[in-house]
């Protein structure tokens, strides 16, 4: 019967083409708007590193004195001091870890081959590349010795390599970061990331950096941050070393803990570290406080998807509801107009259930057409967002799950809107119409 119902639905479309097209357009616009906002929301909130998100932990230490408060939800600073970062990075522990800082330079080749340009860069440590699943196309990460000795080495992305050297393999070439001459030791595949989870401070949806240099260069070359520096007490910073020794927080720190026991062991280590620091006059709190948040917890905690985005999705669903209300009205008119035919079908042996299913299949088909057209409308919407806001460029896309979701939402919504008209028409008393047709 299902194929018969589809055939009847198609005939019904052809019988009232204007109303049918109107309904499909209404669904398409509703679905288009909904899917546009839902796709952006989906990309914002999706797990950026699904195979590892439960093993990578952002480390937060409550380094403020008792009574001090922070603007974070739990009053713990988002970032770490240099002292703590340096200590955790060099701790004698078996866990992979990464210290991170956003910086930037004037990049050039000390020649007239290319015009110097300002570019952000990421100061980090060796493990970061493996932890964050970065793939080397040529060369590799700098050595431990180079990291410890603040060697002037750099890892760049393939795009940066092509831009600077005209080739994907820039290993062995030299580039300049301000006045620092740096040798390229590795070229990685471009880091494709929708959410810059490892450092959402200056925009969670900015593109990841394309230049990576060893953490030890911070001290060696007094490299300052291009990100946020926050303090909670007055500390004069006259020279760069003052900042390194201060309680100002300006660095990110991630650790990879593969199971619960590793997490527990690392927690114990941090607790002991805080106790040790207390003896040195830091961490003046009764109870040591720190947090280890995995990637998804971190994204929620940092409110990467903010309330405005959620409201936008809710509004778009309300718009879809308005479209559906219109469709409901049109369906009511269309179905009730068909009551005489339903009367005949009932007289010829159709049960109420069969009549109901026939009409539900029709609205489902309507939803399918609307959903497919809605995907096109959503593509236009996403194109508009990409062209208007480059910040959203990587987010304003529909992935396969959203493409599949669109018709499902459309069909479900239409069936929801069609239940009442279908129920009403299936309750038609056949005898009412048989005499009057």
């Amino acid at each position: 019967m299902f194929s018969h119902y589809i055939d009847l639905s198609w005939r019904s479309f052809k019988r009232t083409p204007l109303v049918s097209v109107l309904m499909v357009m209404a669904i398409a616009i509703g679905i288009g708007v909904t899917m546009t906002s839902l796709s952006v929301y989906h990309m914002m909130s999706m797990d950026p590193i699904p195979n590892k998100s439960s093993q990578l932990f952002a480390v937060q230490l409550q380094s403020m004195d008792e009574g001090e408060t922070w603007f974070s939800p739990d009053s713990i600073p988002y970032q770490l001091t240099y002292k703590d970062t340096d200590h955790l990075l060099n701790a004698d522990l078996p866990y992979k870890r990464a210290a991170l800082m956003k910086t930037g330079f004037s990049v050039h080749l000390n020649s007239d081959k290319i015009k110097p340009f300002l570019e952000t860069a990421r100061v980090t440590s060796r493990d970061a590349f493996e932890m964050f699943n970065l793939t080397f196309l040529h060369g590799g990460v700098w050595s431990l010795e180079q990291e410890q000795n603040a060697a002037p080495v750099v890892v760049i992305s393939e795009t940066m390599s092509k831009k600077l050297f005209g080739t994907e393999n820039g290993v062995g070439q030299t580039l300049y970061l301000d006045d620092l001459s740096m040798r390229v030791v590795g070229v990685i595949q471009d880091w494709q990331l929708h959410v810059k989870y490892y450092d959402p401070n200056n925009g969670a949806f900015n593109d990841p950096e394309q230049i990576f240099i060893p953490f030890s260069l911070i001290k060696a070359h007094e490299i300052n941050t291009w990100g946020n520096t926050n303090g909670w007490k007055h500390e004069p910073v006259k020279v760069f070393n003052d900042k390194l020794e201060s309680e100002k927080v300006w660095l990110q720190f991630w650790v990879q803990l593969n199971n619960e026991s590793e997490k527990q062991a690392y927690s114990d280590y941090i607790t002991n570290y805080i106790q040790d620091q207390k003896k040195l006059g830091r961490f003046n709190r009764e109870q040591p406080e720190f947090k280890l948040r995995d990637v998804n917890e971190w994204i929620i905690y940092r409110q990467v998807v903010n309330e405005d985005n959620k409201i936008m999705v809710a509004l778009s669903f309300m718009f879809l509801a308005v479209c559906l209300a219109n469709i409901l009205g049109l369906l009511l008119a269309k179905f009730l107009r068909r009551a005489p035919e339903v009367g005949v079908r009932r007289a010829l042996g159709a049960s109420k259930r069969q009549v109901f299913y026939q009409h539900i299949v029709e609205v489902g088909m309507l939803g399918l057409f609307g959903g497919v057209l809605g995907i096109l409308v959503a593509q236009l919407g996403l194109l508009g967002i990409r062209q208007s806001y480059s910040y959203y460029e990587s987010l304003a896309n529909m992935d396969i799950s959203m493409l599949m979701t669109a018709p499902i939402i459309a069909i479900s919504a239409c069936i929801l809107a069609g239940i009442y008209p279908a129920w009403l028409v299936c309750r038609t008393t056949p005898s009412t119409y048989l005499k009057t047709q």
């Binding site: 079908r345 007289a347 069969q354």
Partner: protein, 234 residues
């Protein structure tokens, strides 16, 4: 075949109660051809609708082939209607979007008959009413008489034992009316039980048994002028 005991049908509004049928008793034997006459508003169509299970009744007992219709749910009534009853309406009630073949196919689809068997029955029924060559035509491309013959073919396709006809010739000229009547008589001779509501006294006289409905009650004034045909039910 059909037995109604003290059937009443009351239409109730806020202001008034209308008794369309009251203490209506009728026994129809298999193979009978009954003409139901009566003035407008007397309850003929209500009787036919209740007989066809298109309307519920308010009280009484209705047995169709021994089955107590009052105890059936909607699905069971639909199944029973589909299997045992064929309808012929005054206004033909063909579905305008479907061609003749598809119109005749409608009750067969609801019965779940397979495509090959459907085809056989449809072709046979259209042949029987003389419209096999018009199978792909739409109803509006036919005359009134032809449309009624299609409606009869549709009613016959399910091989029902019981045909209910509501003014089957009401919209036809006298020549076409006679042709349709002859067709119904032939169907009756083939074994189907027919109950036909009509205003046409001449047509009513051609039926072996006449009953008259007046004020929702039965006046059975022509009793078995001839023996009912032998039942050859499907």
């Amino acid at each position: 075949m059909l037995k109604m005991n003290n059937i009443s049908k009351v239409y109730q509004t806020e202001m008034v109660q209308t008794h369309a049928l009251r203490d209506f008793n009728l026994n129809v034997e298999e193979g009978e051809f009954i003409a139901v006459t009566g003035p407008s508003g007397s309850g003929k169509t209500t009787f036919l609708n209740i007989a066809g299970m298109l309307e519920p009744f308010s009280s009484g007992e209705y047995l169709l082939d021994g089955i107590d219709v009052g105890k059936l749910n909607d699905n069971q009534r639909a199944d029973l209607r589909n299997q045992k009853i064929g309808f012929i309406f005054q206004g033909f009630n063909l579905i305008p979007d479907l061609n003749l073949y598809e119109n005749v196919e409608v009750p067969l689809r609801y019965r779940g008959i397979k495509a090959a068997e459907r085809k056989r029955r449809i072709e046979q029924c259209l042949e029987q009413v003389g419209l096999a060559s018009r199978a792909k035509h739409l109803p509006q491309q036919l005359s009134g008489g032809q449309q009624q013959r299609v409606a009869i073919a549709r009613a016959l396709a399910g091989e029902p034992r019981f045909l209910l006809a509501d003014e089957p010739t009401g919209n036809l000229d006298s020549l076409m009316a006679r042709q349709v009547m002859e067709l119904l008589e032939q169907i009756n001779r083939d074994g189907a039980t027919i109950v036909m509501v009509t205003h046409d006294a001449e047509l009513a006289r051609r039926a072996p048994r006449n009953i008259q409905v007046v004020d929702g009650q039965l006046a059975d004034f022509t009793l078995y002028q001839g023996k009912p045909n032998v039942a050859v039910g499907a």
